[in-house]
């Protein structure tokens, strides 16, 4: 992944995450969502789907150090930049630029109990880790450090692999603020 378009248009598409309805109870929502919405306690389930998704990519990439184009340009020192290694499938405003961090929601917001899962390569050790992309919800858009991941992004009629849906499902607020990327563990 790379930050999409340069300039102000970064903000666009930024595929803000995720949403659902306050109109549905949290329990009812989670019970009906099946595999594509995953509560924190069951995070390890989703990477299977996500990794399978990666295997569906239409065309092979040219040979590089890593199979992931994102990993070939990733760095491990600065979580306020779009190419921080954990953000390989992240979309939206980086919580690290908004008073939070890769696994910390900024003050005044709360993490969604549901999340995306990505499998990202740490370029320092070449190993693949599971990352939980959890939105922080409860304030309007942070508006800082917009990043867009497109790898694996599918149209919204395949909602489980679309990155434009507001993903505060089950949170106390359906208002998206920023995107975090917590480490779950090794994917190997």
């Amino acid at each position: 992944m790379k930050p999409i378009c340069s300039g102000r248009f970064d903000g666009l598409i930024e595929s803000l995450s995720r949403g659902a309805a306050q109109l549905t109870s949290r329990r009812g929502f989670l019970s009906q969502c099946g595999l594509w919405l995953v509560a924190a306690s069951s995070l390890p389930l989703l990477p299977v789907a996500r990794r399978a998704q990666a295997g569906e990519r239409p065309v092979a990439k040219p040979a590089r150090k890593f199979a992931s184009e994102f990993a070939n340009h990733a760095q491990t020192n600065d979580p306020t930049r779009c190419n921080y290694w954990r953000y390989c499938a992240s979309d939206g405003y980086l919580c690290a630029c908004c008073g939070g961090g890769p696994h910390t929601c900024p003050p005044g917001t709360s993490p969604s109990p549901t999340s995306w899962i990505g499998s990202c390569i740490n370029p320092d050790d070449g190993r693949t880790y599971l990352i939980a992309y959890r939105d922080c919800c409860g304030q309007d858009s942070c508006g800082r450090c917009a990043c867009l991941g497109q790898e694996g992004d599918m149209p919204s009629y395949r909602p489980q692999v679309n990155n434009d849906i507001v993903w505060c499902f089950g949170a106390s607020s359906m208002v998206y603020h920023c995107s975090s990327a917590g480490l779950v563990g090794l994917a190997e």
Binding site: G19, A21, S141, A146, G152, M154, S156, S173
Partner: protein, 395 residues
């Protein structure tokens, strides 16, 4: 300092004398009684838009950095001049009634800005005054997603508004726009988007590549007919903003890899036509492919498809386009390549005979091009926060 003020006062008195000596100007209406008027007084009036025409352009600004500040601008598409604006709400949708008399905004609100009870509505406005005439509640809610045009559609006769939801089942709420009330919600399991093609019928794209066509009655009781798989949803999915020719009930699916699959939606079940490609082998090798946000639009009178194109690798389907390619949709023949002065995310085409191409550039300027020449007519100053979707009347 005091002397300076005195100078200003003197100039003001002189100006007042000039005003009093001038004949009065008439206004349309005002709030001054006759004896309170100066001899010259401007009336302070509110403008009314001219009747909706084929060159009117609506620009939905989703305001990414402050999403609660979304709004729609009304432009004269011939000149690019802003003629009005109205507020929308969180990740909204927008459409124009088929007769051009009303505007429909699909909005979600919280009672305390970002807190409190959520309410969802189809907000009906008069197309000339932009005044709200009705807030029609959507009791089943709606999906919150970065705004996509075909999450809301109006049936061709203007009777029903159809809004998409995911909570968590995918569903469409049917709203009777004449009676001003939601009449029910129809489940469309595994499918999404809305292409309203009949008086009481719409089609949706499905996660497995099928197309579901839903026929419903006045109480939203529905029957669904699905096709076999029309496209490869896993390896070459169709863009959400594919070419939709509502007048001829034809959907031209544009895929990530640049295939075009014509689909006839005129009946109770979709009928698939022969596919063709946007690109030649050489162009594909050079990396040409569709991409952006509102990546395509359709000109119904001439049955022409317009697609934003760029050069890139796989997974650049949201990269901005550098050119707009024009195709005769009946033959798949490319007619023109319009090179854009700067990359762009969204396009639309006016539906008149001498059509204009509208473009939202990455600078947030709106460009207008004459398609007859491929040359730009104008570019606006950057508009709003993050303008994203374009709508024209009659599309």
């Amino acid at each position: 300092m005091r002397g300076w003020s005195g100078g200003i006062l003197a100039a003001g008195v002189a100006a007042s004398a000039l005003v009093l000596a001038s004949p009065a100007l008439a206004g349309d209406s005002d709030d001054l009684t006759a004896d309170a008027k100066l001899q010259l007084a401007e009336s302070h009036v509110t403008a009314t838009l001219a009747p909706t025409d084929l060159r009117r352009l609506y620009v939905l600004d989703v305001a990414f950095p402050a999403a609660e500040a979304a709004r729609t601008y009304v432009l004269d598409g011939t000149s690019g001049q802003v003629e009005g604006m109205f507020n929308q709400a969180y990740w909204p949708n927008f459409a124009v009634s088929p007769d051009g008399s009303e505007l429909y905004a699909v909005d979600s609100y919280w009672e305390k800005h970002t807190r409190g009870k959520r309410s969802d509505y189809i907000v009906v406005r008069d197309a000339r005054t932009l005044q709200v005439s009705e807030d029609i509640p959507l009791p089943a809610g709606r999906l919150l997603i970065v705004s996509k045009k075909y999450n809301f559609d109006v049936t061709p006769d203007g009777h029903y508004g159809l809004t998409y939801n995911l909570a968590p089942q995918t569903a469409v709420t049917v709203t009777d726009l004449k009676e001003r009330k939601a009449v029910g919600t129809i489940g469309i399991p595994g499918c999404g988007l809305i292409f309203a093609q009949g008086p009481a019928r719409f089609s949706s794209l499905c996660a497995d590549g099928a197309i579901a066509t839903v026929s419903f009655d006045e109480s939203a009781n529905a029957t669904v007919k699905r096709t076999a798989n029309v496209f490869d949803a896993k390896n070459d999915p169709a863009f959400e903003h594919s070419g939709w020719d509502k007048h001829h009930q034809m959907l031209y699916l544009v895929t990530y890899h640049g295939r075009v699959i014509p689909v006839n939606l005129a009946g109770e079940q979709a009928v698939i036509g022969a596919s063709w490609s946007l690109t030649s082998d050489a162009e594909r090798s050079a990396g040409w492919r569709p991409g952006g946000w509102q990546i395509s639009h359709f000109h119904s009178p001439k049955r022409r498809l317009y697609v934003l194109m760029h050069r890139g690798r796989d997974w650049t389907h949201k990269n901005s386009g550098t050119e707009v390619w024009e195709f005769d949709a009946t033959t798949g023949t490319r007619l023109q390549r319009v090179k854009l002065p700067e990359p762009a995310q969204s396009i639309a085409v006016s539906q008149d005979a001498d059509a204009l191409l509208y473009v939202i550039a990455d600078s947030y300027r709106i460009y207008g091009f004459r398609l007859a020449t491929g040359k730009p007519l104008y570019r606006t100053k950057p508009l709003g926060f993050t303008p994203q979707l374009l709508t024209v009347w009659g599309e």
